[in-house]
Subunit: 419 residues, 2 copies
């Protein structure tokens, strides 16, 4: 076994042991730890900023662009935001321990389900150091140990945050090994980590498509993940024109770089002639390039010709694909073929078509008369978000604390045996 | 692409297309199909028995043992039982379509979750032809298309059942491709099927450990599965002796070959001297061999010496490993090290220790004062069982219709946009 594999196995083993202690811990102790970590972060802001300056200097030396350097930077305000976030998570309801449906069965036993932590969560992420505190807090709140592997560009910042986390855990009498931040920048650490199925119960990769694809290919640990966000909005024949404009413009322009941003606009043929010029003017005002199908380009001037690849593109930029479709069935078929199962919306006043869209579009979020930008754990009232899943098993859509738990069956008898 | 890969891809594509139609179908149509299939099975019993006789003749020619030949045999009574099972599944509540928690959010949108089919389920199984009807029925009831790959020894029987299923689907106006029973006996079909992640949403492998291990190694489709059933019963210091005897004897002897059968008995040291002789006498009466640790062998005569491998053994036979442990912590530690996360029980009158056992033992079923043999979808009131999962993600423990579904978020707005 290589040294890095041995190191990662050791981390996995100690994480597994810590997960047993966390699963047996009281919610009060876990919340106390979260508050203690927040206090440590606030108290140690000078040390955090010194460590962060090392990462920034190295980043500048390595030619990181301004956007990346900005994401990497820890300011006083960002440190306060991290600490506040930990206290908000501490204040959320306890996601574990609840027993549901403890029902008597014909045999006389009572059977229920108890919500329990998953065990050990592995999180792989890039650049932004606040993820170290956020992800650790969500795992801790849900009674899970975690192994965190951040980007090498944030190494010193992440280790400084890890020191605050360890101190806060100790303050609350919880094992420091409950949160382990991998120290090595060796890329082989990721390969070792994602095959530790003996010790890690689930991976949450957060990062660009290249990272996710690599992990999908190599991981033996199950994942909570999404790969693409090719989100659609279908403007139905019965849409209110002003509402349709408001929704599609918000879905595209409120932020360009997020996975729930609109990437393809579908317009029913019966209203395309009246609506497309209106949409074109609105998007022009935002500097959004429209790439249209042949039918849409025949109805309005100034659209670039869409290539076949445009229907599957996640632009993450001020570009929008536009297609004219023949009604709801054609819209659903387009989404079925080109969508990524993330978030898709319909704008309509017609009840039956709204219900069919909700039922038949097979995506993690389906919406009626609302911007796709709402697909978010906070907007859905989850109180927190560890990521978004486009998988169908276990967790689907924005994943909050419940997605970091599982259920086990509990059976209560009085000496019952099976006949 | 090899011919078999092309065939399996074609099956996957048509299954995916059928799954869209099933997801949009009414529960009434799916239930009508289940009842029509039951009628076809009863009406076509002569054809089923003729096809089955071909399999039995081939099996006898290939030297299958009596137990396997028995499992393979379709009698009038077994055909009736298959048909009755389909009608019982038709009578269960509809597991899809329910919307829960449609709650208003601060932004004004309403957010809920809708229970929907997974899509396409792949089931790989051995010998017993009734699984073809059972598995198809559970998938159909839950709105899923399925691809079934049975054992080559049951080929003719499975195809005859498949013909009844296709006819029943057609009777109810549902696509015949909703249930596809793989015709080829080429083992490569399994390898092709378990990597069809583009078309199959989940695999449910049902069979021996060799089959499951192969699928675990090679599959890219996620699975609902269990590998081992190394079930424990811990007899606590405060156990009622008569209850303890009744529970452990039932857990071991009610059936030897099932995954929820007791394989290791743990006895608290403070009561081992009084209880072990009593247990020994009871197990002697059932012809069960006890393999004991050193401490247990010092307390009672006639125990075989346990080897280290005995603590991890799933005997599926009249053999039981016996260990004396020092209290609850040692019992939990033993289960943590040697258990398979399937089903573990405690016998005790002590409330606090019962609660700690329920909370801290990390298994799919944990029991107090009940036989491990109760770990079963029917005993848990699920109405049906597609399998048992010892995984933590998605479905854990006995898996009924709910395990064949997922949820999607639905968002209802009135033109809401994100600020």
């Amino acid at each position: 076994m290589s040294e890095i594999n041995a190191t990662m196995r050791g981390i996995g083993q100690t994480a597994r042991a810590a997960s047993r202690r966390l699963a047996a811990s009281e919610a009060g102790a876990r919340n106390a730890a979260l508050r203690a970590i927040a206090e440590r972060l606030r108290d140690d802001r000078a040390a955090l900023e010194t460590a962060n300056e090392k990462d920034l200097a190295a980043g500048r030396g390595n030619g990181l662009d301004a956007a990346l350097l900005d994401r990497l930077t820890l300011t006083d305000a960002r440190i306060d935001a991290m600490a506040d976030g930990l206290e908000q998570i501490a204040a959320l309801p306890d996601p574990v321990g609840a027993v549901s449906h403890l029902d008597p069965m014909p045999s006389g036993i009572r059977v229920g389900r108890m919500r329990v932590p998953l065990g050990v969560v592995g999180i792989i992420y890039e650049s932004r150091p606040n993820v170290t505190a956020d992800a650790a807090a969500l795992c801790l709140k849900s009674g899970n140990a975690c192994v965190l592997r951040g980007g090498s560009e944030a190494l010193h910042s992440n280790q400084a945050i890890a020191a605050c986390i360890a101190a806060g855990l100790a303050d609350a009498g919880l094992p420091e090994t409950a949160v382990q931040v991998v120290r090595t920048t060796d890329r082989a650490a990721v390969g070792a980590m994602i095959t530790l199925d003996e010790y890690i119960d689930v991976l949450v990769p957060r990062g660009g498509k290249g990272l996710i694809e690599r992990i999908m290919r190599e991981a033996t640990v199950p994942m909570i993940k999404h790969l693409d966000g090719v989100c659609h909005c279908y403007v139905d024949a019965d849409a209110d024109p002003a509402m349709a404009e408001r929704v599609v413009v918000n879905a595209k322009t409120q932020r360009y770089g997020t996975c729930n941003t609109l990437e393809t606009l579908l317009v029913d043929a019966s209203v395309a002639a009246s609506l497309l010029p209106r949409f074109k003017a609105a998007f022009d005002a935002h500097g959004v390039e429209l790439r249209g199908c042949e039918r849409s380009r025949a109805l309005v001037d100034g659209l670039t010709a869409a290539e076949p690849a445009d229907w599957d593109a996640e632009y993450l930029a001020p570009i929008l694909a536009v297609a004219v479709v023949d009604g709801l069935d054609a819209a659903i078929e387009h989404i079925d073929r080109h969508g990524s199962g993330h978030t898709d919306a319909i704008v309509t006043r017609d009840h039956a078509r709204a219900q069919r869209f909700l039922r038949e579009v097979d995506s993690s979020s389906v919406m009626v008369n609302a911007s796709t930008r709402f697909a978010d754990g906070f907007e859905y009232g989850l109180g927190a978000e560890i990521g978004i899943s486009t998988d169908k098993l276990h967790a689907r859509g924005p994943v909050g604390l419940e997605g970091l738990t599982t259920q086990k069956y509990i059976v209560l008898g009085e000496g019952h045996v099976r006949e």
